[in-house]
């Protein structure tokens, strides 16, 4: 993980995460953990307030990858992400990434919050039999 070996940053994709979208995502996933939807409860937790579902940010990473690498990226990718910091209600989330020069088919991915700090960092692996242009991060 990290950006030391990264080259050729991808175009980013952004989403404003507001209370309505968090509620809609809770309904879509059936995940009504009060840390996402109950401000009173959430304030009593170590998070100190409502946070968005982590997998919402993964959806944004998928959109970013689609934008930069096209539909072939969804042929057996392996994603590994860590949720570093909570995403607060009202934040502008931005997903980005870049090919990782240390290995073909390896990409760094991230999601940052309104203040630019990393909320999710991770990697995406593409299978060795993926098209060469895709493995090099230049499908589109």
């Amino acid at each position: 993980m990290g950006s030391v070996n990264s080259v050729c940053a991808f175009a980013t994709v952004s989403l404003v995460v507001d209370a309505a979208s968090i509620q809609a995502y809770a309904e879509l996933t059936d995940d009504f953990n009060p840390i996402h939807i109950d401000p009173v409860f959430a304030a009593t937790t170590p998070m100190g307030g409502v946070i968005a579902h982590g997998t919402m940010s993964i959806c944004l990473i998928w959109q970013m990858l689609q934008k930069n690498l096209g539909a072939d990226v969804f042929k057996s990718p392996a994603l590994d992400v860590r949720f570093l910091k909570p995403v607060r209600e009202g934040e502008l989330l931005t997903a980005g990434g870049s090919p990782n020069a240390s290995a073909p088919g390896l990409f760094d991915v991230w999601v940052r919050g309104t203040d630019g700090s990393e909320r999710i960092v991770g990697t995406l692996w593409l299978p060795a039999n993926a098209p060469a242009a895709l493995i090099q991060g230049a499908d589109k």
Partner: protein, 135 residues
């Protein structure tokens, strides 16, 4: 009768916790688009949408099988290997199992594996989620 919330001590690595079956229908797509917007540029932009719905099916299975959960759990890490995207009308079966647990720095970490398959057992995804369990 109310069941008590599942606690850290209830998890036994290796246990299959259950399974969920969901039909991937248009209502899920519609709900996803309300949040993330309709894909622009034609059908080749549906990949991200369907990959996202695979993640959502994983979460639905987790929420359906691992219940009742204590409030305040936090998702710490997610590994997700997408083998194939779900197709409209497909019936998705997801098996949830406990693959591990440990206490680190006074936090209770639970590892759950989700394995999703479509029609005729077509493999769709393998997910490994790490959750900081609240109790």
């Amino acid at each position: 009768m109310l069941k008590h919330a599942i606690t850290y001590t209830d998890f036994q690595p290796g246990d299959v916790l259950g399974e969920a079956v969901t039909t991937f229908d248009g209502s899920m797509t519609h709900a996803w688009r309300r949040i993330f917007g309709k894909p622009a540029g034609g059908s080749d932009t549906e990949g991200a949408e369907r990959a996202s719905l695979a993640i959502i099916l994983m979460m639905r299975a987790y929420c359906s099988v691992v219940t009742p959960r204590p409030p305040g759990n936090v998702h710490a890490r997610q590994r997700f290997h997408l083998h194939g995207v779900p197709l409209p009308g497909e019936s998705i079966r997801t098996v949830v199992s406990c693959s591990g647990k440990e206490i680190k720095r006074e936090r209770r970490y639970v590892e759950l594996r989700t394995e999703g398959s479509g029609n005729d057992g077509r493999p769709l995804f393998t997910g490994d989620m790490t959750i900081v369990w609240a109790r």
